[in-house]
């Protein structure tokens, strides 16, 4: 293994481990701001460091510090302490492990070497996801069971039954998708989605599998125990379900596990149905061939975006009543100067690329970075859909939930398999 190989292994694993973790902060922030937006209120706007609130992100840091310094209580009636402690770890680790096989850029070609851009370059792809998701259930079951508490037990039962039932429509929706792509390897699936249907429509999964995408997204919502399927927590009826007895960092692990799971399933939905890292109409080869004009376009576009973003910050980040020496104005000035220095640094880097390094390896790396950006942007939007649904739909009743899973989604998924295979056999 050369030094480059080792560097890329470290980079990929670091990406696979730290990006979901940093997205936890982004998602908690998005959840709070989203909830505030949907309910027409302000959201987190008080916690600050030296007057900087970072749009509410500092609230996350405050919460993290609070959870880390809380007393870690293991209730006296808990008989199986080992399982009680193991459960939150299992939930968190399985959520994080799922991300290992999701590609975040196309295969990186450096010289004569090919690097698959996944944290773990395994070619069983989607099967790994299905396997690891199954283990998440253990965490929930063990948490509910070892809490030895009526609410905990009910929450655990509900969550486990729900996850096990929705794995079936999810798996069946995947079967028809696998028939379309003809592979289980997620990188190959992503490459397939770079092609064009009839020469002008991107061959994304959502175009080829319109029914499958709906089934899969509904099942994915149920798998992550998010509203409208969050009966496992059901604050109004069973307090908090399976994590009612947990406190401090053990609770934080459940909480973070939920958001990591949400990020990973968004990433998977994007990978399977929304073109993964592909920029529509521009597949990897086109991007590499047109790297220079693309960079010039970005260099022109960046200040424009920066200008509008700065204007947006200026419009929103201010006191909504008269104050002497408004501190928000100072805050805004700092944010805008930060924004412009970021734009300036990016411009300098891109200019250096244009002058010194264009062609060959630099083009490949640039395209990979662009694709990582595209992938994260799409995943961010998909995460917003999760937040959107959570604050829009009410919670289902438990019998309704099982009815949707078994009586609606399952037959629809089977029908989808028949239609898909008929089309593939007759036209494909």
């Amino acid at each position: 293994m050369s030094a480059l190989d080792i560097l890329l292994v470290i980079l990929r694993i670091a990406f696979g481990a730290f990006v979901p973790l940093s997205f936890v902060a982004v998602l908690v922030w998005m959840e709070r701001r989203g909830a505030a937006f949907f309910q027409d209120r302000a959201g987190p706007n008080r916690a600050n460091v030296l007057g900087f609130r970072a749009g509410g992100l500092i609230q996350n840091a405050a919460d993290g510090i609070k959870l880390a310094f809380k007393e870690d209580i293991v209730p006296g009636h808990v008989k199986h302490k080992f399982y009680f402690i193991l459960a939150p770890m299992l939930v968190f680790i399985t959520a994080l492990l799922c991300f290992a096989v999701i590609p975040f850029a196309d295969v990186l070609v450096l010289g004569d070497k090919h690097y698959i851009m996944q944290a773990v370059p395994m070619d069983i792809g989607i099967l790994w996801f299905l396997a690891v998701v199954g283990f998440g259930v253990y965490g929930i079951i063990l948490a509910g069971w070892s809490s030895h508490n009526k609410y905990g037990m009910l929450g655990g039962l509900r969550a486990a039954a729900q996850v096990i039932s929705y794995e079936i429509p999810m798996g069946l929706a995947l079967v028809s998708l696998l028939a379309v792509y003809g592979t289980v390897n997620l990188t190959e699936m992503a490459q397939f989605q770079g092609k064009l249907l009839f020469g002008f429509i991107p061959m994304w999964g959502v175009v080829l599998q319109p029914l499958g995408v709906i089934i899969f997204i509904v099942a994915a919502f149920a798998e992550t125990n998010r509203t409208p399927f969050d009966l496992a927590e059901g604050e109004s009826e069973i307090v908090a379900g399976f994590h009612v007895e947990y406190s401090a960092m053990k609770f934080a692990l459940f909480f973070m596990g939920e958001y990591v799971a949400m990020f990973v399933s968004s990433a998977l939905i994007v990978t399977l149905y929304f073109g993964s890292f592909q920029i529509p109409w521009l597949n990897t080869e086109t991007l590499v061939a047109n790297a220079r004009p693309l960079v010039i376009l970005i260099m022109i576009g960046l200040p424009v975006i920066g200008y509008f973003f700065g204007a947006w910050i200026k419009k929103n980040n201010r006191s909504h009543y008269y104050r002497e020496n408004d501190p928000r104005k100072k805050e805004t000035a700092v944010y805008i100067s930060l924004l412009w220095s970021l734009v300036a640094v990016t411009e300098i880097v891109l200019l250096a690329y244009l002058v010194f390094a264009h062609g060959g390896v630099a083009d490949r790396i640039l395209v990979a970075l662009l694709q990582i950006g595209t992938f994260l942007f799409k995943t961010f939007l998909m995460c917003f859909v999760y937040v959107w649904v959570r604050w829009t739909l009410p919670r289902f009743r438990y019998d309704q939930l099982q009815k949707i899973g078994w009586e609606k989604l399952l037959p629809l998924a089977l029908l989808n398999i028949f239609i898909t295979s008929a089309i593939i056999v007759s036209f494909g």
Binding site: M122, L127, A131, G134, W145, G156, L157
Partner: protein
């Protein structure tokens, strides 16, 4: 070199899990140690570069079947006091050792006398989804279909048995 250590680690875990399954009294402990065994077996399959079997072992056995068993243990909330008394336990253990002992000796002898052969590493295609699928649907189509019918029969049987309860 690394694979040898991995093999020993996984094999040790598998045996320990199996021992835990029969030694632990509490059903949840037994089930969880069995999960450890199943996962280590999956690891052993992966070492043999049987990728599809690795995934299926994790999805079906370690994931689906065992989570159903753990779910049932939780659902019925079985505690140690609910278990039947087993006063003759050690008698059965001793009998088991006497019966299994010679067979174990035979197996050890067989593995000792195995001829030493060169180990060849298969290429990437071996054990992957495509290869196994093509083998299953060309050379082994009839057994595959027969197994599918068997599973279908089991499924219908389960539905009939579950549906009978309501009708007298």
């Amino acid at each position: 070199m690394l694979t040898t250590y991995l093999f020993f680690g996984l094999a040790l875990l598998a045996v320990l899990g199996a021992l835990g399954l029969i030694i632990f009294k509490h059903p949840m402990n037994g089930a969880m140690s069995f999960v450890v065994t199943l996962i280590s077996l999956a690891g052993l399959y992966a070492l043999l570069s049987a990728k599809l079997i690795f995934a299926i072992q994790l999805i079906v056995y370690a994931g689906a079947i065992m989570s159903l068993i753990v779910f049932i243990i939780m659902f019925l909330n079985i505690q140690e006091k609910d278990l039947p008394l087993d006063p003759n336990r050690w008698f059965y253990v001793a009998g088991g050792i006497i019966v299994v002992g010679p067979i174990a000796g035979l197996l050890i002898n067989i593995s000792r006398t195995l001829p030493a052969t060169e180990v060849t590493v298969f290429d990437d295609g071996f054990g992957s989804v495509k290869e196994v699928g093509q083998l299953l649907f060309t050379q082994w189509l009839l057994p595959f279909e027969i197994v599918s019918i068997l599973l279908l029969v089991a499924l219908v049987g389960a539905v009939v048995l579950a549906g009978k309860r309501g009708v007298n």
